[in-house]
Symmetry: C2
Subunit: 151 residues, 2 copies
Amino acid sequence: MPPFIPENFLPYLLNQAAEQTSLAFSTVYRDRYNMLRTEWRVLFHLGHYGDMTASDIARLSKMHKTKISRAVKALEDKRFIAKRAASEDRRRDTLSLRPEGRRAFDDLCAIAARHNARLLAPFSPGERLILLDCLQRLSGLADSAPDSSRL
Amino acid sequence: MPPFIPENFLPYLLNQAAEQTSLAFSTVYRDRYNMLRTEWRVLFHLGHYGDMTASDIARLSKMHKTKISRAVKALEDKRFIAKRAASEDRRRDTLSLRPEGRRAFDDLCAIAARHNARLLAPFSPGERLILLDCLQRLSGLADSAPDSSRL
DNA sequence: TCTTGTTGGTTACAAATGAGACTTTATTCT
DNA sequence: AGAATAAAGTCTCATTTGTAACCAACAAGA
């Protein structure tokens, strides 16, 4: 086990890495679409996984529901997404991307993909595989991902 | 290069991993010492690297100076650290741990080390090496670490 | 010396967040 | 059916954070 120094303390290391890697991209969605990170995340979930309710997003992204509620309202105001009452349960609203939101999603995704590639570029393919795998296990994202349950 | 899906997007992945891994430990310093994360970080820097000024901590940790200023004040109120005017430059204050702060640091460090070991336990030694190395490179922490400049 | 610019640190105000109460609708149990 | 419980989502308030202005001390140049 490596020695306990700041450079080996995972919570600290992950936080720093997260901030460093998020910085450049956050200016993109902020400057281009005046979005906050939570809004970009909600947009991303809807664009990637398709229509879903706020609580679906909460389960997937592990964000608190109040954060999502606020992001949804902001995205509605921007005309990026639309709400419609979910078929049976009148408590739920199904969220979906409007054409304008789809365009923003496509645009941002292209930039995000490039950004991600640049971030991963310094690592060897083997390192990339291990890094991503470790992070997925640490993040607990695989636990609730919709795709993994369909295997 | 891996496909661009949420589970491979580093900023998102790192954020989720950071939140997951920080959660358990944040309750420790909060419940035991009523500290915020920024306070724990400042305490940690002083405990690990020795006396330094607020701007030293800012450079090392890449935290904004207002955050540090507030954390320093809170730690002073808790009697964990003390300020004294830095020798020459009367703008700077050298920060140092009081005995009480040292005790808290030792206590929290022991718990943090155990926590870190538990987080790293699921990975093989090879994975650990690569994970930590990748994260250090992504975090930019190595850039300004005082030890690396002494090599 | 007297400006001009820079740095360390604090303060003030606006914006974002978290925790929990609250409303409405669905579910379960008797 | 009626009461109790739970879930989806919103709202409110206290806490935390970010941005920028600010003050004091230093530094450099005319």
